[in-house]
């Protein structure tokens, strides 16, 4: 893999908890600018830790992460993060939540309000701008969290199972909206999920993580932009089976 055009480069990253339990073992990975990579794995396989390492929220025990060639020291303003829970501030209206990344650093201007309103339009909750998070459904909250991550137009997004708590139909809608938004802005995405079908549907490339190692990486050669019916394509199913097999490999060996 060439690292010249990579947005994120993960170089031989290992990580262990304070008690010495290894979580990640010598991970190498690079994500080209504008690519959409997915990372699948069971719970507890270390995928969230890897994501937090790339975000700069956790310091690697060994190895390091570079963003556009620069070694990271901590969270970078070039990277937006979408959490598993929407993590909206209950005491602020939706629009003020979306504007939070801006209002933490400078006075919010009229143009910023315009940007935020446009984003809410794009994620389909423009009419809820004045509401409070408690008045929103789970899907609407996830949309607001997505808009918040995009308001500063970061070149990259890190997403930690952002749609895991949603029902199937809402999740599919949000997946399509996400693909549309990041294609529009040419955003680099690293998307962590435990849902194989979600990974295949969203990703240009999918990596499988198992016991702190990358067990498999595979390119997904389905047509872009994705359409809903591609989920029922035999190709799609073939990809899913291949990934499923990589996830269960070690248990098969044990049997």
């Amino acid at each position: 893999m060439s690292t010249d055009t990579a947005f994120f480069s993960v170089d031989r990253v290992s990580h262990a908890y304070e008690d010495g339990t290894a979580v990640l073992r010598a991970i190498d990975w690079s994500i080209p600018a504008g690519a959409f990579h997915c990372l699948v794995g069971r719970s507890g396989c270390g995928k969230t830790t890897l994501l937090k390492l790339v975000a700069g929220l956790v310091q690697a025990t060994e190895g390091g992460v570079r963003i556009e060639g620069q070694a990271i020291q901590g969270p970078s303003p070039k990277v937006g993060f979408v959490f598993q829970a929407p993590a909206l501030l209950e005491w602020l209206s939706v629009i003020d939540n979306v504007l939070l990344p801006i209002s933490l650093h400078r006075r919010v201007q009229v143009a910023d309000r315009g940007t935020a309103a446009e984003l809410l339009e794009l994620v389909g909750i423009a009419d809820l701008a004045k509401r409070h998070p408690g008045q929103l459904s789970g899907g609407q909250q996830s949309r607001a969290a997505l808009a918040r991550a995009l308001v500063t137009s970061p070149p990259a997004l890190l997403m930690d199972e952002p749609f895991a708590a949603l029902d199937a139909i809402t999740r599919e809608e949000l997946q399509d909206d996400l693909l549309r938004l990041v294609a529009l802005r040419r955003t680099t995405v690293l998307f962590v999920t435990h849902d194989i079908a979600e990974a295949v549907y969203l990703g240009d490339r999918v990596a499988v993580m198992d016991q702190g190692k990358i067990a498999l990486t595979t390119s997904i050669d389905l047509a872009k932009p994705r359409a809903c019916d591609c989920r029922y394509d035999p190709h799609f199913t073939a990809h899913c089976q291949k990934i499923r097999a990589a996830m269960t490999l070690h248990t098969v060996e044990l049997d």
Binding site: A55, F81, F83, Q135
Partner: protein, 253 residues
């Protein structure tokens, strides 16, 4: 209003029963005064000649001063201890130890330090209000979820921004619960503080009434204190609702 009607009816029934028992059984006014007598005293205290107002004013001022002082100091100390981990580890055992000391027992020493009168009472009241705020502020600061803390780190927020814009707002419901506890305790502190070292105020008046064996006046004073407590508590609720209006919007639709 319709829902409160039964409670109101119960109160009237109880008062009527009380009046009847006192009159029919001929209970001495020294032991239990009749409600009618108590209201007569209350009337003369509040309307003509209105001798109670001065005491209400004194006790109210002591309560609110002590409350404001104790709450602000408790809040600020809670912020400092909540944010500065080494300081918390150093001071926490002492905070716990002092919390166990019955604050009212310190009244006599405060009288030696600050003299009889308002200052001693305000200090006792402030001391009583200090602890609920200290503890609830420290607890409240931990209320923000790890994801929200990570969010603020991701957004490059400084420590004071995280405190002001995440931790304090997240903890506000818990902090306000402390304020509600404090306002009730404040009135207790002021009244008992006056028992010990006051010459004016509702608490001091109870002691004076005891000296005159005037049970009727004592009952009238109880009612005045209870009414004052209810008023302060309601005011706190209004302030709380105003401060938490953002959260409440999420629950009422």
């Amino acid at each position: 209003m319709r829902k409160r009607l039964p409670s109101l009816a119960l109160l009237l029934a109880l008062l009527a029963g009380w009046e009847a028992v006192v009159r029919l059984a001929g209970v001495s006014a020294l032991v239990i005064p009749a409600p009618s007598a108590v209201f007569a005293v209350l009337w003369s205290g509040l309307v003509t000649p209105g001798f109670l107002w001065q005491h209400i004013w004194v006790t109210g001022a002591e309560t609110l001063l002590g409350f404001a002082l104790g709450c602000s100091i408790g809040f600020v100390c809670g912020l400092v201890l909540g944010e500065v981990e080494p300081l918390r580890r150093l001071l926490w055992p002492y905070v716990l130890a002092t919390q166990v000391v019955p604050k009212l027992a310190l009244g006599p020493i405060f009288i030696i330090w600050f003299g009889f009168g308002m200052t001693s009472t305000v200090v006792i009241t402030a001391l009583i209000c200090f602890f609920p705020l200290l503890e609830n502020t420290m607890t409240g600061l931990q209320a923000a979820t790890p994801e929200k803390r990570d969010l603020f780190r991701m957004l490059g927020a400084r420590q004071w921004q995280t405190l002001l814009r995440l931790k304090i707002p997240s903890g506000l419901p818990v902090i306000m619960a402390g304020v509600r506890i404090a306002i009730v305790l404040a009135l207790v502190g002021a009244v008992v503080g006056e028992f010990i070292g006051g010459s004016e105020g509702l608490g001091a008046s109870i002691i004076a009434a005891q000296g005159m064996m005037d049970s009727t006046l004592m009952f009238a004073l109880f009612i005045a204190i209870a009414a004052m407590g209810l008023l302060f508590y309601q005011l706190t609720l209004i302030i709380e609702r105003w401060l938490l209006r953002g959260w409440l919007k999420g629950t009422i639709t």
